[in-house]
Subunit: 190 residues, 2 copies
């Protein structure tokens, strides 16, 4: 009943999973716009035609990469919306976002920072709807400049930090603990 996943379900064959893994690594290094299907094929060790057999356009690959994280984000925002108060909802969502970003650092960096990916997601309705729900929860019921800037700061800080050179050699547990502390500071009334 209800709450069906509107984001492409992360169900992949072995060949598709290899393509997605290679794409994430290349997107991180060269950006989505600077990554060709030839580069992906070379990274896996197959030809372009083999890649096209799995995903018939480059957009489908971008979609598949985004779907991995965004399906989980949709679940997280759904759970947050069911919390008893707006304050609890925001805290719960931020906790899930930190979990997700630390666990999949490179993907989080791509989804929140790559210009091509951002543009792609903005034009894709299911993704846009999820982001609107995320923003609504993060704004905590308000929509004034203060709430907007605050809501914008959370994902920016989270996604930017997990891929920052200064935290590259930190293990997940340490990064998670310290990042959580920083995000909590942003939650304070002043």
């Amino acid at each position: 009943m209800g709450a069906a996943t509107t984001i492409s379900p992360p169900v992949h064959t072995a060949a598709q999973a290899r393509i997605i893994d290679a794409a994430v690594a290349l997107f991180t290094e060269h950006g989505v716009g600077g990554t060709s299907l030839q580069m992906i094929a070379d990274a896996i060790g197959v030809t372009k035609a083999a890649v096209y057999h799995q995903y018939s356009t480059k957009d489908e690959i971008i979609l598949a990469v985004a779907g991995v994280v965004l399906a989980r984000l949709e679940t997280a925002v759904g759970a947050a919306e069911r919390e008893r108060s707006r304050a609890r909802a925001r805290e719960a969502l931020l906790g899930h976002m930190v979990d997700l970003a630390v666990e999949r650092r490179r993907m989080a960096g791509i989804l929140q920072r790559d210009p091509v990916m951002l543009r792609f997601l903005q034009e894709h309705e299911p993704f846009r709807r999820v982001m609107e729900r995320v923003n609504r929860v993060l704004m905590g019921g308000a929509s004034d400049p203060r709430a907007r800037v605050q809501a914008a700061t959370f994902p920016s800080a989270i996604a930017g930090t997990v891929v920052h050179p200064l935290v590259l050699d930190l293990d997940d547990a340490t990064l998670h603990a310290q990042l959580t502390k920083q995000v909590r500071k942003l939650l304070q009334p002043r």
Copy 2:
């Protein structure tokens, strides 16, 4: 005496300024890796060859775009380093970074988030040195995980926020005031 600018000075002809402006807009929309010289030429209304007459490679255009902001960032970090204490130095630098990011939102977004630009700057020694100085000031004399994550959070939050869809229609003064408040929260000991 000393403190000569090591970053390309922002001295441009009118033709060069047009190219840089068009490049910034296109880099924001399609990413550095997804922007071709043809696109830049079309945006200005000239041919590719005319663009090549100003900048003989695409890398020089990227460098010119980066130089505009980074020359000012170098000045800012130099001034911060002359403050009386590490705490004051950090506050001063963050103030300048917020100024710069709000004033040139799109450029800040590109410099801190575009994968190709980040990679390009990392391989460019003068820029890398400036970023090392910035990181040193932001870490405030420490180098433990707590200081690293904190230092990584500042630029991530600033650059990500100024280009976030939620703050697009906020005027500079409002954004500056609210962003300053958020950044101050991150500075708190807990």
